[in-house]
């Protein structure tokens, strides 16, 4: 087993990995930027090294610096977390070449899945259903028009190197095709430095369902069931669940088996996720493979009882998978809500500032993965994820009730958050009965006023009264500090 692991990440996921290291008696090393000097991830690890200025390009995306620290301090392995270098072929290769183990798949698996057209081709050859459309880049408009005709409108034009909803355009009819084609090409070049574009049938109102898989270096494969991730805003997941209540055991069997085939097709090892679109008729199509640990992995942990990060480390160290498919099952239901520093009343703009107060929920069936503490700074430089709230219940209903209850226990002061918006989703009838697809937020929350629940009369009264009390006390010069009689200081004095 490894003696020492470097975590090339920050925030909650760095803490998540440190926790796994501690439980496995492995020393953890973190790196931190200027803006993260006071962040918990730097102080929870056994060793922490400053790597540069706040912008990611000078710190968490500084490949040379990270690898040179890894060599200097003598780590056996690097865990990339998610984002940053987690799916970067060049970084993985550089790590491999230094004789350090990358906790994740091989660079060749990542490369095979990195380009969408190449991945579609590979999946097509391995009997993994893909969304109908082209499996190689479209070079000429005439070629595209022909393909669109074949699969019928509406179609999606997508950047082959793209992701995250960028470099993508919906084309509803033939006369929209040419201008959209040029525009996606331009965008793809700008964002991904690659203007290859391909075409896909547009699936109307699909659900986003993904399968967690694991492979070891001995060719053993298992899946950890599916996650339902249809609650998204601008292609960003905000609520995820496991299992999906939309699919029955029969479809579950098919979709998980297909995911395993996809993983085998690229000789995959370590943790990975196969994303599918599922339409109204329960047809499912390969969307893409995420060759890393996902943000939403805790819901799979809650229903399976596994620790996915420990399993990742175990596999990277060259051990066989610690369990077999028949050893695990689905126990209960788990839901994750992502708490972001953003302002739902102001077009969800990121909100920055110091966390003056941070009180986190707890109690039965609640797990919190947070990357900050009271006094931490939420800066402009990184993802505005403050915490992940995960609830578990015997049934979906219980898990949802717990999630709602726990959302009410948050007290976050200093930045705006989406907590009230998440509560509004939990109170939405269609969400409660499970009637939703990836367009849920656009459909149900088109009106910005619906993003927030107004303050109750009781809360307004409390706010009014305390404001007056403080104003009165301040003007009469009363000291606000109250001293308790039975504290240690007085005991010491008396003793």
């Amino acid at each position: 087993m490894f003696k020492k692991i470097l975590i090339a990440n920050r925030g909650e996921i760095a803490l998540r990995i440190i926790r796994a290291c501690k439980e496995m008696d492995i020393k953890s090393v973190t790196v931190y930027s200027e803006a993260d000097k006071t962040s918990p991830h730097a102080r929870y690890s056994d060793e922490a090294y400053y790597i540069g200025e706040s912008p990611s390009s000078e710190s968490y995306l500084n490949q040379k610096k990270i690898i040179s620290i890894a060599k200097q301090v003598g780590v056996d392995a690097i865990h990339p977390g998610y984002g940053f270098f987690s799916e970067n072929v060049e970084f993985i290769k550089a790590v491999e070449e230094e004789g350090i183990t990358f906790i994740g798949p091989s660079s060749s698996s990542v490369r095979m899945m990195g380009t969408k057209t190449a991945a579609r081709q590979l999946m097509n050859q391995n009997n993994v259903p893909i969304v109908p459309g082209s499996i190689s880049p479209i070079n000429k408009i005439s070629e595209g028009l022909e393909e669109a005709q074949k699969i019928s409108y509406p179609v999606l034009l997508k950047s082959a190197a793209g992701g995250g909803g960028k470099g993508m355009k919906l084309v509803r009819s033939e006369n929209e095709f040419a201008p959209s084609f040029e525009s996606v090409k331009r965008e793809a070049l700008k964002f991904f430095a690659d203007d290859s574009v391909y075409i896909e049938k547009y699936i109307e109102n699909p659900k986003h369902i993904e399968v967690q898989i694991f492979g070891d270096k001995f060719g053993n494969y298992v899946h950890v069931f599916e996650r339902e991730c249809s609650i998204q805003r601008r292609h960003q997941k905000i609520i995820e669940e496991s299992p999906s209540f939309y699919i029955d055991n029969n479809l579950r069997k098919k979709i998980t088996q297909t995911a395993l085939n996809a993983a085998k097709a690229c000789g995959y090892y370590n943790a990975g996720t196969i994303e599918f679109l599922v339409d109204r008729d329960f047809n499912f199509y390969f969307l893409e493979m995420n060759t890393r640990l996902q943000v939403e992995h805790p819901v799979s942990e809650m229903i399976s009882g596994l620790d996915l990060v420990k399993e990742q480390i175990n596999i990277a160290a060259g051990n066989e998978l610690s369990f077999q498919q028949e050893d695990i099952g689905i126990s209960g239901h788990a839901i994750e809500a992502r708490i972001y520093a953003e302002d739902p009343e102001n077009n969800f703009l990121p909100s920055t500032g110091k966390l003056l107060d941070l009180q986190l929920p707890s109690g039965p069936g609640i797990r919190i993965d947070a990357g900050f503490t009271r006094g931490s700074l939420i800066s402009l430089y990184y993802d505005p994820l403050i915490a992940k709230l995960v609830s578990w219940g015997k049934t979906r209903e219980e898990a949802l009730k717990r999630l709602k209850r726990a959302l009410g226990e948050f007290q976050i002061v200093g930045v705006s958050t989406n907590v009230q918006f998440l509560k509004a989703i939990c109170n939405n009838d269609n969400f409660i009965i499970g009637n939703y697809d990836i367009n849920f937020i656009d459909k149900e929350f088109a009106n910005e006023n619906s993003n927030n629940i107004p303050d109750s009369n009781d809360m307004e009264n409390a706010a009014v009264i305390i404001s007056s009390l403080l104003k009165m006390r301040k003007s009469s010069g009363e000291i606000r500090t109250s001293i308790m009689n039975n504290n240690k200081w007085t005991d010491l004095q008396n003793g």
Partner: protein, 166 residues
């Protein structure tokens, strides 16, 4: 008798302290107890309900009251002050005032002027740090600082109202 007018969510509420921990908000009566928990955190008991409240004080009369996960903005004035403010607003509608907004998100590092100060065009009012650069925010017109909406150490979004000169 102490009387205050509190503005909350664009509504005005009259508050009276009647002694013996009795308070009225408009015509509703409340028995209250206040306990200072620590730092900026208080417990307020109203009748049979206890609230944990975190206070951010912006200036003499502006507060952000964080309660049950919500942040409620209040402006509190004595009744006398409220009357005076209303009178001024009625008789001297604010003219030639300039509301200065944050040109970019950042943090208020230093506030140089205070409300009531006379300033000349070009005077520095406060310093906003954004992207590791300190930006001097200056008066665009000469006049008097009417109010400053921020405090030192506070993070602001782009477009956040910083101060008003009139």
């Amino acid at each position: 008798m102490d009387e205050f007018v509190v503005t909350v969510n664009s509504k005005k509420r009259n508050v009276r302290f009647l002694g013996n921990s009795l308070i009225t908000v408009e015509s509703q009566e409340f028995q209250h107890e206040l306990y200072h928990l620590s730092g900026d955190t208080y417990l307020l008991k109203l009748e049979n309900k206890i609230y944990e409240i975190f206070i951010t004080q912006i200036d003499e009369e502006k507060f952000i009251i964080s309660i049950a996960g919500r942040n409620i903005h209040t402006i509190v004035r004595t009744s006398l002050k409220e009357k005076a403010v209303n009178l001024i607003e009625q008789n001297f509608p604010i003219q030639n005032t300039l509301e200065v907004k944050a040109p970019m998100p950042g943090m208020i590092i230093k506030i140089i002027k205070k409300p009531g100060d006379e300033v000349l065009k070009g005077d520095s009012i406060l310093i906003l740090e954004a992207m590791k650069m300190e930006n001097d925010l200056k008066a665009h017109i000469s006049g008097k600082i009417i109010f400053i909406n921020v405090k030192e150490g506070m993070a602001v979004e782009k477009g956040y109202s910083l101060f008003t000169i009139g």
